[in-house]
């Protein structure tokens, strides 16, 4: 590309970025004359340069924009959001055109007539006649300027060089401003103002920051201009790599010399080392940029968002001159923008909501950056409504990231961390800006990629605060060298918190909980990971543990998760250059790279993030087993999904999951007492709360988990201490019990578990309260029902349930026993029969019933876990009236009801 054109593009893009920021500032503070002058000049320069380069479209848009700005400067048009929006739109159009220009080197075809007409209309709408402004109207300014900026431009005395295209000599500018400013003259001292504008970007540059712009007219003042040059980023990158290599070689030399105590190389080498270090620091500095560069776009984004969403947002940016590596800056730019957007979009409430919540009308988003011991800390705080933890919980379950029972056990903090997982967005609706399911997970990935961590705190109603911690520079990191089974590895110092020596006799001893090693470290229990196991350095069958008398624990932190890595030995720390691993090895998440040590050996760099993920991955494996068990539960006839919980005592209790409508938590304070019973308002109704036995009561404070059983719109809550798990297991009640409320005990998930009798509680909850025997289900009492099932568990489970529903239930262990009842002359209104039974199966039984005898016309409903359409058909052919899946209470009751009605109609 033409040098002239590429320079124009770079400069103009920089000017546009400044313009975005300054226009937003102007909107907030319209009475700052320096600001409007600076804005005017930038647009003026763009227009002038476009004219010179022969870019008519750009020039026209810029000229119309300049006209409006001229009127604003002259006080003819007030600074209104509409005016600012219009100017911003003009700038956006310029950006678009520039984009095409950069790609094709030609201005795109098209017309901006509409936009120009709007701009011109705005310029013409000037309420006051132009005559009220003394001096020339803005129109002559461009004429003057472009004349000066023309190809014939001579050497400018103020600059000591020829003017660049589009540049206006300071003298010229001053003359124009003196002439134009008129009433503002007192407030504006053009030259110092220009100086200040120049100082602003200059102040953000380090002395060595050669990558700053030099050529805007303001900064082209001799003393600044001559000291800055443009250097391509590629060149800097190459320099950086070379210096890193140099440092490595230096390290190698040092290592060699260290072995020879009286080497004559020692002194010159020390000098070399010193110079190398300084060189390294110098090159590093050229890559440093103020973080404000990454923030430049934010004021504009926030302004536009605020307008779109009807929110008043105040964006505060602190520590914008905090410097960090250019590469790091590039990588965090997008995540930061995304997070600020998030805060403004679904964090902050609308103005109305804020007033209702008694908060200041204007929502605040604060960005703060500062250095802290080799790291840069970036905080993004807002005074929004915070993260809706309950909603996140719900989302987690909905998106299948964790099971309901698991989510119940997570702390609020843990729940919040889920927003960093893929596929979870809590935005109520997908807006223009956020809620598309991409987001925080990408943010976290980007930050972790550069060795950073992200943490968050959220207080519901009060706000959210994100803290990002990233290393200042990427290329060289300090690493701890450890040894494990004779192999050396590097652990980045950043993630190492402390080192602990552990041995059998020492104060710190490694203990195990069910083979999981842990270490008591002060007041905490630290989970441990044996590096040798993690890296599979141990031969099959040999235990990694107990072999060594003494081991070291590297305490590492990943996000807010702290754990220990057990290694055999710990060496020095070394400065290493992180090199990416070969593509073949990219799949190994345990390594973040590799490097060459001072002694020339190649060593792998461990990634604590990867180790943490790999070692906690065991849990997800458990989850899979559980899932497998659950799907098995669906297949096997006697298997069922059971909800395990604790309620009084340590023994786990269980209830078939299908009987539970919902898991809820209620505030203890919200529980009321009425008529000697516990009640809570739930979904606009009163829900009775019951306990397993009288000895067990409400928690004294906090939230009380409850299991909700529902029938239609009637709910009943059972107080529990804790929901433990959901498991699929074979239900085999081994020991019956006389204890009211319990069916007996069974072995579930390897533990003796009490199965509760739901029917009993339903009775207790409703029948007693409402003073009638029939609370659940049908009002018709006295229907005689025969239940044929070989499983005593189902007898126990279904009998109370059916009795509550108003049936008189008789049970039979098997088909023979049932037929025996027939011979004895028993009559029933309906029969429920299992299909799979020892001896005579359900199909045979129903055939026998249909064949002869008094039950010929009695409806028979099949009960089975095989509920495919094929099974249905077979059942019907055999003579069943209907077919109900096992453990589906509602379906069972509805089917019984329907079947009875149909048989009545038939009769």
């Amino acid at each position: 590309m033409d040098d002239l054109l590429s320079e124009f593009l770079t400069e103009t893009n920089e000017s546009l970025a400044t313009l975005d920021v300054e226009l937003v500032k102007l909107e907030q503070d319209p009475n700052q004359p320096g600001l409007i002058n600076s804005i005017f000049r930038l647009v003026h320069t763009i227009k002038g340069t476009c004219g010179f380069l022969g870019l008519p479209r750009l020039e026209k848009v810029a000229r119309s924009g300049e006209n409006v700005l001229g009127k604003i400067r002259d006080g003819a048009i007030a600074v209104t959001p509409e005016a600012v929006s219009l100017i911003l739109r003009a700038l956006d159009r310029i950006k678009e055109l520039l984009g095409v220009l950069a790609a094709t080197e030609h201005e795109p075809e098209g017309s901006d007539a509409e936009l120009i007409a709007e701009l011109d209309a705005m310029a013409a709408s000037s309420a006051r006649p132009a005559a009220s402004v003394p001096g020339p109207t803005p129109a002559p300014v461009p004429v003057d300027a472009s004349a000066t900026a023309g190809p014939t431009a001579s050497v400018d005395p103020g600059l000591g060089r020829e003017l660049k295209p589009g540049e206006v000599s300071l003298e010229e500018l001053e003359r124009v401003f003196q002439a134009t400013a008129g009433p503002l003259a007192a407030a504006v001292e053009p030259a110092p103002a220009a100086g200040k504008a120049a100082a602003e970007p200059a102040a953000a540059t380090t002395p060595a920051g050669a990558n700053r712009p030099t050529a805007t007219p303001e900064s082209a003042q001799p003393e600044v201009g001559n000291q800055n040059i443009r250097v391509s980023v590629d060149l800097l990158e190459t320099l950086m790599t070379m210096v890193s290599e140099l440092a490595l070689t230096r390290n190698q030399l040092m290592q060699i010399v260290r072995e020879h105590t009286d080497s004559e190389f020692k002194v010159p080498l020390q000098r070399l080392s010193h110079v190398t270090t300084e060189l390294q620091e110098g090159v590093m500095k050229t890559r440093m940029q103020p973080i404000g560069n990454a923030w430049a776009k934010l004021p504009r984004i926030i302004r536009d968002l605020g307008r779109d969403l009807g929110k008043k947002i105040d964006l505060q940016m602190l520590g914008a001159d905090t410097e960090l590596d250019r590469q790091v800056l590039e990588l965090i730019k997008d995540p930061l923008t995304h997070m600020v957007r998030n805060s403004a979009d679904h964090g902050l409430e609308t103005t109305a909501e804020r007033i209702a919540a008694g908060k200041p009308e204007v929502g605040r988003v604060v960005l703060n950056a500062y250095h802290e011991g080799g790291h840069i800390i970036i905080e993004i705080k807002d005074d929004s409504c915070g993260i809706n933890v309950a909603r996140v919980r719900q989302k987690i379950v909905e998106s299948g990231l964790a099971g309901a029972a698991e989510v119940e056990t997570l702390s609020d903090q843990q729940v919040c961390m889920y927003i960093f997982k893929p596929g979870l967005s809590t935005a109520q609706k997908v807006t223009n800006v956020s809620g598309r399911g991409v987001g925080m997970d990408v943010v976290r990935t980007n930050i972790e990629e550069i060795g950073g961590t992200i943490d968050m705190k959220s207080v519901q109603g009060a706000g959210t605060a994100f803290t990002i911690k990233i290393p200042l520079k990427l290329a060289i990191v300090s690493a701890l060298i450890v040894e494990c089974r004779g192999e050396r590895f590097a652990v980045p110092q950043i993630s190492v918190i402390e080192l602990v020596r552990a041995s059998r006799e020492a104060e710190h001893r490694i203990e195990t909980i069910n083979r999981t090693p842990v270490l008591r470290l002060r007041d905490r229990l630290l989970p441990l990971v044996y590096l040798s196991e993690c890296l599979k350095l141990v031969p099959e069958g040999e235990s990694a543990r107990a072999a060594a008398e003494e081991v070291y624990v590297v305490v590492a932190q990943v996000g807010s998760y702290r754990f220990g890595i057990v290694v055999d030995r710990v060496f020095d720390t070394e400065e290493i250059v992180v090199k990416p691993v070969a593509p073949i090895l990219r799949g190994i998440s345990l390594f973040s790279g590799n490097t060459i040590l001072g002694d020339g050996s190649v060593i792998m760099i461990l990634d604590p993030n990867g180790i943490a993920a790999a070692s906690t991955g065991a849990e997800t494996q458990g989850g899979q087993e559980e899932q497998a068990a659950q799907s098995a539960a669906k297949r096997g006839s006697q298997q069922a999904a059971l909800l395990l919980f604790q309620a009084g005592g340590t023994q786990p209790k269980a209830v078939p999951l299908s009987l539970v409508a919902r898991l809820e938590e209620v505030e203890v304070g919200a529980v009321e007492q009425s008529n000697g019973c516990l009640l809570v308002q739930y979904r606009g109704r009163l829900m009775p709360l019951i306990t397993l036995d009288s000895s067990y009561g409400l928690k004294s404070e906090g939230r009380q988990p409850i299991l909700v059983f529902a029938d239609g719109d009637r709910n009943l809550g059972l107080l529990v201490d804790q929901i433990v798990d959901i498991v699929g297991d074979e239900l085999n009640v081994q020991i019956g019990t006389e204890r009211p409320g319990f069916l007996g005990s069974a072995v579930i998930a390897g533990k003796a578990t009490e199965i509760i009798d739901v029917g009993k509680f339903l009775n207790q909850g409703f029948a007693d309260w409402f003073g009638r025997n029939v609370a659940f289900g049908e009002k018709e009492t006295g229907q005689r029902l025969l239940l044929v099932d070989d499983s005593s568990f189902f007898h126990n489970l279904l009998k109370p349930l059916l009795e509550v529903a108003g049936y008189k239930v008789t049970t039979a262990e098997n088909a023979d026993a049932a037929l025996h009842l027939r011979e004895e002359g028993e009559a029933f209104d309906i029969i429920i029969s299992d299909i799979e039974m020892p001896g005579m199966s359900g199909f045979e039984f129903v055939s026998a019933v249909r064949q002869e005898g008094p039950w010929q016309r009695t409806p028979v409903v099949a009960l089975s876990s095989h509920a495919t359409p094929k099974d249905f058909e077979r059942g019907r052919q055999a003579g069943f009236d209907d077919y109900v899946p096992k453990l589906d209470r509602d379906a069972l009751l509805a089917t019984l009801n329907n079947t009875l009605e149909r048989s009545k109609e038939a009769a």
């Binding site: 192999e487 070969a582 073949i584 090895l585 020339g600």
Partner: protein, 156 residues
């Protein structure tokens, strides 16, 4: 470099000659395009890489560059040899250096491209995959290796 192998296959039909470095693994002679070879190394100290695929023998430091050592024997389904005694040729694959562990490096040969014959269809699948063709020398056969296919073992 990575285009080398493609060129090789394209030019099978043309009358050009190409130069190959010969190497020996388990008594079998192989040809590696000379332009693909950056270095020939004697036995090196290899740093082991835990959890790496079995074909990866380790990593070594070649004048400040980290080179991944690749066990050709393993790739070809041959019995393992003492890696510490192996020589290696360094090639580049997708911009990354790899050192291919072989038993011994031979000479450089000029081979007319049209004299390279197709693989016998009965050749072992591992070999067929990585061999461009066979070249007949007096008294021995040279298996022409395709470096890219050799290292693209993720698909294998």
């Amino acid at each position: 470099m990575s285009n080398m192998a493609q060129n090789t296959s394209q030019q099978l039909a043309s009358g050009e000659t190409r130069e190959y470095v010969t190497a020996q693994i388990a008594g079998q002679h192989f040809g590696v395009p000379v332009l693909a070879v950056q270095d020939v190394l004697g036995p090196q100290r290899l740093a082991s890489i835990p959890l790496a695929p079995p074909e990866v023998a380790g990593a070594l430091n070649l004048r400040g560059r980290i080179v991944t050592a690749f066990d050709v024997r393993r790739r070809l389904g041959l019995p393992p040899a003492d890696r510490a005694k192996s020589m290696s040729v360094v090639v580049e694959h997708h911009g990354e250096p790899y050192s291919l562990l072989i038993d011994e490096v031979g000479e450089v040969l000029s081979v007319p491209a049209d004299r390279i014959e197709r693989n016998p269809p009965t050749l072992d699948a591992h070999w067929r995959e990585v061999a461009v063709g066979i070249y007949r020398l007096d008294g021995r056969l040279l298996v022409m290796l395709d470096v890219d296919k050799l290292l693209d073992f993720a698909v294998a």
